[in-house]
């Protein structure tokens, strides 16, 4: 059975979703256990796939759906799943984050979407299915279908919140649909020029037929990347994100914020390295100069806009935009003249390790922060920073986890945030792009200001400038009587697990980076497989 794990990891949440929808018609309470069971099964199959990839001699395994394999038939007749070290790790991240978000949702879903839990969990599971499918597929059109699955479920999960959430979801629908259409149009151009939809097939035809100078391929590249940049909220195209993510129901925010943009970044890497190939992206186009500058603008704009927010969740959504800037900028770092010297991919694009490691670490820390923010709001009843007063005394465990996430975002060792910044900054220096390194450091400083502001409210309880003396004495009186009023275990357990993950991803950074290096070394550099 184990050779089927690449498809079983998709089927487990898919069948769980249909089961939720059908059984939920009769018994509403079965939706939650089915969801957890489906996601545990998915995580199991993801880990099994990872083990298989590590054990295989080439560190890549293929699974041909429908049996249309590449030995008896031309490659690309059917749909291929191809798992290498990069997407094996991303798959485990998706399954893990989705499972924790599902565990966390137990209290929030019946409260925020009453009577519609089965539908909510159906869409939740299908979102996880879609994201895993986007990650595992080696077919450019299958990728589009699963982008659709992941986007539609995302829109609905956001719209199920308040009326304001529905408006934000509508903006997201428009932007997301434009992005997906651009992507599809780009794939159409590629198909016209190559006659294949298989990612490796496209890459090989581009090389064999010498299509790197072709205007059609250039248009395809622009369309595909414009679409993806909308999807991953790369700065000028990110206007939809803050409203959609901050107004979404709590449980939705906890799955879409850590995963959707990160999986889109993964798709961008896949398009750069496997479909178009480094020899096209870094050789023919070599857009490193402007791309890194746009990324710097994205990082600074996201960070500065986060400073202006008075709502905790909204502040975190702007940080996502800054983090996307880290990853896109890292992917386009290029050493001068590297490709001409025929060096390894790692020497040409030194930021790639940082970008791919940051996919993992950003998923972990965004999850931790969103769970912590939701747990804090559960205690205070409001997301405004001023209302966080005295939270340290009331909910020490929740706040401890929040601080772990905050330290990771700032980049303090031994959390994962430190190591991803370390890889990115050293990549920037190797590429001679000191301005990118400065932007990363400035963003770290702004993050420090942001999170210490929250911690100040929560730890010191009040702002002396705002409180009058009368209020002051009253507050003081209240604080003395405040008892520890911690969140229930169903909230704390996933929160503590996510904080542990933040530290674990940091502590095991050598191993994860080693795995990712195996992937980067396996990327073909002009010579085919």
């Amino acid at each position: 059975m184990s050779e089927h794990s690449p498809v079983l990891l998709m089927l487990a949440p898919l069948f769980a979703a249909v089961g939720c929808a059908l059984l939920g018609l009769r018994w509403k309470s079965v939706a939650y256990p089915i969801t957890i069971a489906g996601l545990i099964a998915a995580l199991y199959f993801c880990l099994q796939t990872l083990v298989q990839v590590v054990d295989s001699p080439t560190h890549a395994i293929s699974y041909f759906l429908g049996g249309w394999n590449a030995t008896d038939f031309p490659r690309g007749i059917g749909i291929e799943y191809r798992v290498d070290m990069l997407n094996a790790i991303v798959l485990v991240v998706i399954a893990f984050v989705a499972l924790l978000a599902a565990l966390f949702s137990k209290r929030f879903v019946p409260k925020e979407t009453p009577d519609r839990e089965p539908q909510y969990y159906t869409l939740f599971l299908l979102l996880a299915t879609g994201l895993m499918g986007m990650t595992i597929t080696a077919d450019a059109f299958n990728l589009y279908v699963l982008i659709e699955v992941a986007s539609l479920t995302g829109y609905a999960l956001i719209a199920m919140g308040s009326r304001r959430a529905a408006v934000a979801a509508f903006q997201y629908v428009i932007m997301g649909t434009i992005g997906a259409s651009f992507y599809l149009l780009g794939v159409g151009y590629l198909y016209i020029k190559t006659g294949s939809l298989n990612m490796i097939g496209i890459h090989d035809v581009l090389l064999e037929n010498g299509l790197h100078g072709s205007p059609s391929v250039f248009v395809a590249f622009i369309l595909i990347f414009a679409g993806l940049w909308i999807k991953l909220a790369f700065f000028p195209l990110s206007a939809w994100l803050p409203n959609a993510y901050s107004r979404a129901p709590t449980a939705t925010g906890c799955i879409v914020a850590p995963l959707v943009t990160k999986v889109s970044v993964y798709v961008m890497l896949r398009m750069m390295l496997t479909v178009f190939g480094p020899e096209y992206v870094y050789g023919e186009l070599a857009w490193s100069g402007p791309m890194v500058w746009i990324a710097i603008v994205a990082i600074l704009a996201g960070s500065v806009m986060a400073l202006g927010q008075s709502d905790l969740r909204r502040m975190l959504t702007y940080l996502i935009i800054a983090e996307v800037g880290y990853m896109v900028g890292g992917a386009w770092l290029l050493t001068p003249g590297g490709l001409a010297r025929g060096e390894s991919l790692y020497a040409i694009a030194p930021g790639l390790l940082g970008t791919s490691y940051h996919i993992v670490s950003d998923a972990a820390m965004t999850l931790c922060l969103f769970l912590a923010a939701a747990a804090m709001i559960n205690k205070t009843g409001s997301g405004r920073l001023e209302d966080m007063k005295g939270l340290f005394r009331r909910s020490p465990v929740t706040m401890a986890c929040f601080i772990v996430g905050a330290l990771a975002m700032i980049g303090v060792p031994p959390t994962c945030g430190f190591f991803s910044k370390w890889y990115l900054v050293s990549g920037a220096f190797e590429a001679g792009r000191w301005e990118f390194a400065i932007a990363l450091l400035v963003s770290s400083l702004i993050n420090a200001v942001l999170f210490f502001r929250v911690i100040e409210y929560a730890y010191f309880g009040k702002f002396p400038e705002i409180d009058s003396t009368h209020d002051h004495s009253e507050e003081h009186h209240q604080e003395e009587t405040v008892k520890v009023d911690e969140n229930p275990p169903s909230i704390l357990l996933p929160l503590i697990l996510s904080a542990t993950a933040v530290i674990a991803v940091g502590l095991f950074n050598k191993d994860i980076a080693g795995f990712l290096e195996l992937f980067l070394n396996s990327v073909s550099m002009g010579g085919g497989e």
């Binding site: 898919l14 249909v18 429908g66 059109f141 006659g195």
Partner: protein, 254 residues
């Protein structure tokens, strides 16, 4: 300001698309038999080998439901998501919302209902024909499902939604939508049960009675998954109509 900006962006996208196709040497002509998409080994394989692989004369159906059947399964899931999403977002409970549209005192028009009585069975049989004939002519589960869904919508338009719901209730629609995906994925699981890859229908000749060869098993496997697609599409079409036409109340209606 924003309108001008939007105009500039649209103009630039248009320019880009024009640039893509304007280069005559680079962009293949319309229907060019030597274009990469037509001359690639894949297209050649589909043209010459589809009939050998699955006995299906319509190679579009074979590509859709067999070679790339996994895509089609997720397209069906997309339809299912659309139904569930609209249900989840707009459905309100009957009690706490104001009545809109649909006056109960109006008798349905005699001419319209009589015509519909005659039409609906014909539409439904035609839908089944489109489904079953997808192998040899244009058609299949999606098209058949839309036609079948239209027959229920016609009942809802001619009488009212409650009459249509009496034939095909809301819960039945959701259940059938899910059932369609189970049918589709079930064919895939059946092939895994015999140790082959997911959706490798060929092996199901061991399972299906009266099917001798893997080729015919592929033929009937395609029909089977198309039936699943039809279940989902029919139910979701009707569900979406009911939800949107009554603003989520699923009662009364236009």
């Amino acid at each position: 300001m924003m309108k001008k900006l939007a105009g500039i962006v649209v103009f630039m996208v248009g320019l880009l698309l024009f640039y893509g196709v304007s280069n005559v040497d680079d962009f293949p002509g319309w229907g060019d038999p030597d274009s990469p998409a037509n001359a690639s080994p894949l297209s050649q394989y589909f043209i010459t080998d589809t009939i050998k692989d699955s006995e299906v004369p319509n190679m579009v159906t074979a590509v859709l439901a067999d070679y790339r059947g996994y895509d089609t399964m997720f397209e069906t899931v997309v339809i299912f998501i659309a139904g569930i999403a609209i249900f989840a977002v707009v459905r309100v409970s009957r009690n706490n919302s104001p009545v809109c549209g649909g006056n109960k005192d109006d008798e349905p028009d005699l001419i319209i209902t009589t015509t519909c009585r005659l039409l609906v069975p014909v539409i439904q049989i035609f839908a089944l024909y489109v489904l079953a004939h997808g192998h040899s002519s244009p058609g299949g589960g999606f098209q058949g499902g839309v036609i079948m869904g239209a027959s229920f919508i016609l009942v809802a338009v001619a009488w009212d939604l409650d009459t249509a719901l009496g034939r095909f209730s809301e819960k039945a629609a959701i259940a059938c939508a899910g059932l369609g995906i189970i049918i589709y994925a079930g064919f895939g699981l059946a092939s895994m049960f015999y140790g082959e890859e997911f959706l490798n229908y060929g092996i199901t000749h061991k399972l299906l009675p009266g099917v001798e060869s893997p080729e015919m098993a592929r033929y009937y496997g395609m029909l089977g998954v198309e039936v699943g697609v039809m279940f989902t599409v029919t139910s979701v079409m009707f569900l979406i109509y009911g939800l949107l036409s009554t603003r989520g109340r699923m009662s009364g209606g236009l």
